[in-house]
Symmetry: C2
Subunit: 265 residues, 2 copies
Amino acid sequence: VTDGDQARAAADQTTVDAFHRGRFHLVQPRRGHRAGIDAMLLAAAIDGGFSGHCIDLGSGAGAAGLAVASRCPCARVTLVERDPLMLDCARQSLALPQNTALVQARIDVLACDATWRRPAREVAGLTDAMADCTIMNPPFNTPHDQATGDPLRRVAHVMESGMFEAWIRTATALTRANGILALIARPHSLRDILDALEGRFGNARIRLIHPRPQAQAIRVVVRARRGSRASLGFVPPLVLHGTEGNAFGAEADCINNGAGSLFAD
Amino acid sequence: VTDGDQARAAADQTTVDAFHRGRFHLVQPRRGHRAGIDAMLLAAAIDGGFSGHCIDLGSGAGAAGLAVASRCPCARVTLVERDPLMLDCARQSLALPQNTALVQARIDVLACDATWRRPAREVAGLTDAMADCTIMNPPFNTPHDQATGDPLRRVAHVMESGMFEAWIRTATALTRANGILALIARPHSLRDILDALEGRFGNARIRLIHPRPQAQAIRVVVRARRGSRASLGFVPPLVLHGTEGNAFGAEADCINNGAGSLFAD
């Protein structure tokens, strides 16, 4: 049994799920990280009129990248992922008959780690300044999050700081001057994110995502411009649900279905 | 004509203004920086039940510190300011007959620069760990803000970063273990603030202040705990006004008048 065989066997345990009211479908592993509102929020940071080349860095099965393609009829999208199982899902998604109209010739998949340096990236097919826009939803809920001791927590924090630095360093190389970076993360990562953006991306627009009107934010979406020196700003937050019940509010529902934009401007 | 004479002559150009629906009054210069909603927001970061010693670092005429005394009947407050004109206003405020009930023996004034190191601070009367709570509203709208050229803006940014580092370093020394730091600033300073808090204050609770429901945030209030390693969190923002008109909304009006708390917990 080779690694490839194992990956293929695991990939058999997949589901096909509809997003954007059925405008695209996604093959993803039945277990483990499954795409949902986070990927749709990230894609909604890119305006529907965007018509350039978007790189989804660390795309997983490709939910956010496909959502950008679904929102932006004139965009090209490259899904970049290192995990063979997720890459397999992404390739299966592109081959789904339900996605024919969406995919056409404008979506491709590359095997590359988000932290690789230029020589390895170029071998993988990624060249500097190739992207008009880079989007990323870096992984979290790692085992380190459950670390309780102070030393362990400190290690986890250093690892997470290093991850944002490495991913945003890669995005800096891949994104052309004046291009866009959009990312979604947990609010407590905001310091690491702002530190990594410094001198690389400016004019950051930040939108916090609250689950309910009275609850603390659970996510933050940041959109910034390559090479800008303008200050950051916080736009009004998005509240996903009302005080009670599990239904999305009007704006969140719109965004989850590919219609709304997270940053109106 | 000595410096003292000039300061006194300038201090004659003062007004006496009521805050918290007349529960305290403030002597302040007719021209220049005049206290308003910012100082009331900062004071509202301290719960009304607080009964320890609060230092208002860089107090100006003392609006925020007096507002804490007004909100917290059992608190002691020390106003710390370097500017002779503002110190004179602060002392005049404490002597106002309208403030007799507020002041009693629980408010005092010290002449000290917020950036001075321990030896100079101790001469001024400030000793390490003397505060249960430190509040600060560091100055902005300096001439540097109007700088337009890139090099000038970079200098202004470095100066502002240095200011937060220096002020928060002082607050770190003055605040006892497990004590509170509260500050108000402009949102674009959040990175410098989070950098300066690192390893000193944790469990930061952050509340953005938006002027209107659809407008970007104009202020950020941060409350953090000395020595805590807990993550930061964003509570839902405060919106000062409705979509139209100049009246405060219900919560902002409450806070401006000393009744509400910015962080309910």
